[in-house]
């Protein structure tokens, strides 16, 4: 019985934490937010130099050839530090899609460049102000040329490539496009957490390469999102824990009516509930990490379980952290809002809470997992 990370993985995590603390990641998050520049290029370059972009990329393509578990522990630290970098877009979504579904030529071309930072990738799904479904995707591909408009695409300005969900002759397909090409227009979109950049992309007859099987794109997308859900859940528990730590410190320092506010049960119970939500999320994320790392048939249910509890934990902890800080928590000056913003970004980026609860129950209906409790 070992639902835990190895000593080597824990070491990697503590090194990642030290690095991000030394780099003052939270301060960088705030600067990016203030300047609306979408990312911190200097921090991103340093992260690339550390080799993190190649954690999962096999050695034959210049990567470190490590597993998903190593990526999970790094994700938790990036989440804790609210790192303003395109790591999740390029690594959890794009690189993972290439590793899993791209042909050998594309892998040989792109994977080494994703390690070195020469290439950065993203995933383009949403098109309108509603949840994307297999039936409402409008972007179209004819004779390898893709046209249409995507919105809320993360990190598209620095990204050199994107995997785009579109409609082909045989149904939904995933297609790789070069974002530096003339046939696409990338425009920044104002958003709620501007420590990260969101963009619309208009494609007009852009050349594209099929990734994976034609017509089966929606199912491939679900697998990519399930894998990413586990990795994002680690970012979410990192962020939740940081928000709880912040609230906890403040509750001990701030006095009202002659005593630390943390000595009042109204505050204690709030913080205990934050701890409870994080513990549930963490345990479910560990289970998700196991399912991800072993390519288990349980992945879709395990990922949805991790996703739902971690989304709930981060949203709860970040809002109650503001509440614990009182009026100070509502100011731009205090860091509370940085966590609040990021919790919302992470709760939507690969689909809302309602979407994932529905995926969870659908998964239970398909499997026999509910019976194993």
């Amino acid at each position: 019985m070992n639902l835990d990370f190895s000593d080597d993985q824990k070491y990697l995590q503590s090194e990642a934490r030290k690095f991000l603390e030394k780099e003052n990641s939270l301060k960088r998050n705030r600067d990016v937010l203030d300047n609306k520049c979408g990312l911190d290029e200097e921090l991103w370059k340093k992260i690339v130099a550390m080799g993190w972009t190649g954690i999962r990329i096999p050695e034959e393509y210049d990567g470190l050839g490590l597993g998903h578990l190593e990526l999970c522990v790094v994700a938790e630290e990036l989440g804790r530090a609210l790192a303003p970098v395109p790591f999740s877009s390029s690594v959890y979504l794009f690189t993972e899609a290439i590793i899993k579904y791209a042909n050998e030529d594309i892998k040989k071309d792109l994977l080494p460049k994703l390690v070195s930072g020469e290439c950065v990738g993203t995933l383009a799904v949403a098109e309108d102000l509603l949840a994307p479904t297999e039936d409402n995707i409008k972007c179209e591909c004819k004779d390898e040329k893709l046209s249409g408009t995507k919105i809320a695409v993360p990190d598209a300005a620095i990204a050199t490539h994107a995997v785009v969900v579109c409609r082909g002759n045989a149904g939904i397909e995933l297609r790789l496009v070069d974002l530096n090409s003339e046939e696409c227009k990338v425009q920044i979109q104002e958003n709620i957490d501007e420590s990260r950049g969101y963009f619309s992309i208009n494609f007009k007859d852009i050349k594209s390469d099929l990734i994976g099987e034609a017509g089966n794109g929606w199912e491939l997308l679900q697998t990519i999102l399930n894998q990413a859900a586990v990795l994002f859940s680690f970012e979410q528990i990192g962020g939740s824990q940081a928000a709880l730590d912040m609230a906890n410190n403040y509750a001990k320092e701030r006095y009202a009516f002659g005593r630390a506010i943390g000595s009042y049960q109204a505050i204690k119970h709030k913080l205990a509930d934050m701890y409870i939500s994080i513990t549930l999320a963490k345990s479910n994320s560990y289970y998700g990490a196991w399912a991800l790392s072993t390519d288990s048939a349980e992945l879709s249910v395990a990922a949805a379980t991790a996703r739902v509890s971690s989304t709930e934990a981060f949203q709860f902890c970040s809002k109650e952290n503001i509440q614990t800080h009182g009026g100070n928590g509502f100011t731009w000056e205090y860091d509370c809002h940085l966590f609040y913003r990021r919790s919302k970004l992470l709760s939507l980026n690969i689909g809302s809470l309602a979407t994932w609860k529905e995926k969870l129950v659908t998964g239970l209906e398909k499997s026999n997992l509910a019976n194993s409790n």
């Binding site: 709880l244 943390g262 000595s263 609860k357």
Partner: protein, 409 residues
């Protein structure tokens, strides 16, 4: 990460399994086995005694006890493995926990050699059942506020007062007891710990009828009950110190709320009609089931993390402290869902076992939110011991017990 036993654990599990298969029957339905739980009926008692004796003879009765007292000094992970295996068999469990888990270890630490020789073997063999006499009508969450009196009289102590919430008092042979020997001292300093023969003259036991209609607890009255000083455990005034070690064991023992869970809600919703459609198609129901599944799985995986630490010989983190708060509230919500799902008929007692399960959960869950530490006390414990938040200012610190405001003059 993996979910497999180590070689030693697998061997131990096989040993447990092998013996159980030869000596007991597998349960048909894990959640509604009639022999499970605390039942006071004579037939159940006899069956429980027989099973305990059988375990004793084969060396399974008190695994965690040190070798000198007949145990095998089992590691926590071995106890968990035994528990996992035993719980799959239809055997009467649940009446020896207080003896083997609380009274036994206290006796080993504080009783005389003679007393240990007299009391530990029948405790282990299951011939004598023990109960715990701590809570009082005016001392629940604040159990150190207890007021039952002990007055020294020659070589004896005379006990007067009332205990409450005593599980199994009516079929217990002995009890461990904390009482106040000096109300002039501060509250935590004026207590002393004893063990007492439950058949002593002056002890009067009355069952408490719970909101479920059942009675698993008692009120225990003490009227001039004599206890020899030789049955004192620990020094005079050390009562709280001795009690707190046993309470720690209880907080660990009170875990998951048994009863209808996410799985039962899910299975029911697939069968039940909702205005012409299957209930499982309701969006609200799907969201609730997702929430309960995440909680249930979160607790299950939390337990696995605790076991992982134990299995490596590490001390587990405080994660397990969330178990009862989450599971008791989940049980209440699921019970409520099940009853409401049959609309106007939800009030009726029926012969449908699933509905009975939901109604039982709804009626029983309020007790689980209180027993072994209320939701509020458990949140205080998480806040103070895990998160390091300061204690509330207290009106009872540095004050003689008799001067502490009690709301009753």
């Amino acid at each position: 990460m993996d979910f497999n036993d180590t070689k030693e654990q697998a061997e131990f599990r096989a040993k447990c399994r092998n013996w159980l298969e030869q000596n007991a029957e597998l349960k048909i339905n894990v959640k509604s086995d009639k022999k499970d739980g605390m039942v006071g009926e004579e037939a159940f008692l006899q069956a429980a005694k027989k099973w305990q004796m059988k375990k004793f003879d084969a060396g399974w009765a008190m695994l965690h006890w040190p070798k000198e007292y007949g145990g095998i000094a089992a590691t926590p992970i071995e106890r968990i493995i035994w528990g996992q295996e035993e719980s799959q068999f239809s055997v009467p469990r649940g009446i020896y926990e207080i003896g083997l888990g609380m009274a036994g270890p206290v006796m080993m630490q504080y009783a005389s050699e003679e007393q240990k020789a007299r009391f530990l073997p029948p405790m282990a063999e299951g011939k004598e059942i023990w109960c715990q006499l701590f809570s009082e009508p005016s001392a629940g969450s604040d159990v150190a506020g207890l007021r039952s009196k002990a007055v020294k009289d020659g070589d004896d102590w005379i006990i007067n007062g009332q205990k409450v919430w005593t599980s199994g008092a009516h079929f217990s042979d002995y009890g461990i007891l904390v009482v106040r020997h000096d109300p002039n001292l501060e509250k935590h300093k004026g207590m002393t710990f004893f063990f007492v023969d439950m058949k002593s003259p002056g002890i009067d036991i009355k069952p408490i009828k719970q909101i479920t209609g059942g009675s698993s607890f008692n009120e225990v009255y003490f009227n001039d009950v004599r206890i020899p000083d030789s049955q004192r455990l620990g020094e005079i005034g050390d009562g709280w110190k001795v009690a707190i070690t046993t309470l720690m064991n209880e907080r660990l023992a009170v875990g998951d709320a048994n009863g209808a869970d996410a799985k039962e809600a899910f299975e029911w919703a697939k069968k039940q009609d909702d205005h012409g459609d299957p209930l499982i198609e309701s969006k609200a129901v799907r969201e609730s089931i997702a929430d309960w599944y995440c909680q249930a799985n979160g607790l299950k995986n939390t337990k696995l993390r605790t076991m992982s630490a134990l299995s490596k010989g590490d001390t587990p983190g405080p994660e397990a402290s969330i178990t009862k708060v989450v599971s008791a509230n989940k049980l209440q919500a699921i019970g409520n869902f099940g009853i409401d799902s049959i609309d106007m008929a939800g009030m009726l007692k029926t012969d449908n076992s699933e509905i009975n399960g939901f109604q039982g959960a709804w009626l029983g869950s309020p007790g689980l939110r209180i027993a072994g530490g209320t939701d509020e006390i458990l949140r205080n414990i998480i806040a103070e011991r895990v998160l390091g938040l300061p204690q509330d200012p207290r009106a009872d610190k540095g004050v003689a017990y008799k001067d502490i405001p009690s709301g009753s003059n």
